[in-house]
């Protein structure tokens, strides 16, 4: 599994499955979210941006956790593939964080009457974006990419301290932002007809991440192994 060549081939076979199931869940999620789910009794139609905003915010934290786990694995066992996973995930994570911030701001205008408030959750999400950007900046600043990968592994692990702060900030400071509506246990605060499209979109975003991270990792594997025989054979095979 650790071999780059094996990874390249397996990832290539997995990408179409991820991509197709992403598209199916995306279409179903958007259809249910925009046409089937009833309007909210307080927020009217404008709550529907939630179907992008909430899954994007979930992804922003999920991807960081994946990166921290991959960082731990690559520091302990020095596996090339997990090193590549970190940097391949970073820009996807940063994009999702940015998306969550932008959609949150667009949602905030009709609901709170302002684009931005210095609420704990928004602020933490902004900080998460900075953490992602720091990882990307550090990786690009270090010339030797294997050294760079280990440096960002440590940075991801150090930054993971910030994730619980993001998560519990709602309970700690609890200002303008509404508290989390989806819980694993206990009574749901949301009706099932609204919840189904949200979960569909959540799954869809995860599948998207899976497809994109595999594509990026494949490209990264090729670049790192560009001087090896299997890559040369691969390229020569394509040329014929």
């Amino acid at each position: 599994m650790g071999s780059p060549r094996y990874f390249y081939n397996v990832a290539g076979k997995m990408i179409p499955w991820f991509a197709i199931s992403f598209l199916l869940t995306l279409i179903a999620g958007i259809y249910y979210g925009l046409f089937v789910a009833p309007p909210d009794y307080q927020q009217g139609e404008s709550y529907r941006i939630m179907y992008i905003h909430v899954p994007a915010a979930w992804m922003s934290m999920f991807i960081y956790m994946v990166m921290a786990a991959a960082g731990l694995i690559s520091l302990v066992w020095r596996i090339k593939i997990t090193e590549i996973t970190i940097i391949s995930s970073a820009s996807v994570g940063a994009s999702f964080t940015f998306l969550a911030l932008v959609t949150g701001s667009l949602w905030g205008k009709p609901m709170w009457g302002t684009w931005w408030v210095w609420d704990a959750r928004l602020t933490s999400e902004l900080l998460l974006l900075f953490l992602y950007l720091g990882i990307i900046a550090l990786y690009s600043a270090i010339e030797d990419k294997r050294v760079a990968a280990r440096a960002i592994s440590i940075l991801a692990l150090v930054g993971v301290v910030n994730i619980p702060i993001i998560h519990y900030s709602v309970e700690w400071w609890n200002t303008l932002h509404q508290t989390s509506s989806v819980t694993m246990t206990g009574k749901q605060a949301m009706s099932t007809s609204m919840l189904i499209p949200l979960l569909l979109m959540g799954i869809s975003f995860k599948l998207y991440y899976g497809a994109v991270v595999l594509m990026r990792a494949r490209a990264e594997v090729l670049e790192r192994d560009r001087n090896t025989r299997w890559v040369r054979e691969l390229v020569e095979g394509e040329m014929k």
Binding site: A141, V158, V161
Partner: protein, 227 residues
């Protein structure tokens, strides 16, 4: 030399860093001067309404302390990296995390402690009530070591880079935020007259946590930067 115990290695390193800093007294004053200057800029920028200054006072002092700490971080490993001392650390028989802790402690005594001593004066200038000044001092004494500890990881990761400065602030400032939030909240709460033991406890917990974890992360980062 092979019989040098860990404690004496620690104290020797601490002494060495303090002596080196004392020999370069001009540099020693810089972070403090920066701290005072930044704090003095705020009333000039926001107007001289005493109530307004009091409201932003604790935050201004803490943001200035944050920036002063950030400014001085680069000196922590820079000269040792340039002349190869760090590589000698790597070869030493003692755990690098302990040696690193000595350097962090020295760095805090050089840059954090002066801020702590100057803070009451600045607090007076910013109309912070005298009753709240002990809380401010307490947050500084608990918080500024955390800044040095967390900062050491960032410096260790960027010490080998030619233009590490901007990246360092990008890496470190987001991690400073919890300290900033709880410290300023403690001071503001004490101005109103409400007990602040909760915030102080959290700051103390952050200090203990970073004291344990940061030297390990810094040692690992240094090893990567030197590879």
């Amino acid at each position: 030399m092979s019989t040098l115990s860990l404690t004496s290695a620690f104290t020797l390193l601490l002494k060495r860093d303090l002596v080196l800093a004392y020999r370069r007294r001009a540099e020693l004053v810089n972070p403090l001067l920066f701290f005072v200057l930044v704090t003095a800029m705020f009333p000039l920028g926001i107007g001289n309404d005493p109530k307004l200054i009091q409201a932003v006072g604790p935050g201004v002092i803490w943001v200035a302390a944050l920036l002063a700490a950030l400014l001085s971080l680069d000196t922590m490993f820079r000269s040792d990296f340039d002349d190869g001392t760090l590589e000698q650390f790597m070869l030493s028989a003692h755990p690098i995390s302990v040696l690193v802790l000595a350097k962090i402690l020295a760095h805090w005594m050089i840059t954090g402690l002066p801020l702590f001593i100057a803070a009451p004066l600045l607090a007076m200038m910013l109309n912070v009530p005298t009753d709240a000044i002990p809380t401010l001092m307490l947050t500084l004494v608990l918080g500024t070591p955390v800044l040095s500890l967390i900062g050491s990881v960032g410096v260790a990761l960027t010490v080998g880079l030619r233009r590490g400065g901007v990246i360092l602030s990008l890496l470190v400032l987001p991690l400073y935020v919890p300290v900033l939030i709880f410290a300023t909240d403690a001071v503001k709460t004490s101005i109103v007259g409400i007990p602040t033991s909760a915030q102080i406890s959290i700051l103390a917990a952050m200090l203990v946590g970073s004291l344990v974890l940061a030297p390990l992360a810094t040692a690992a980062s240094l090893r990567i930067s030197l590879s």
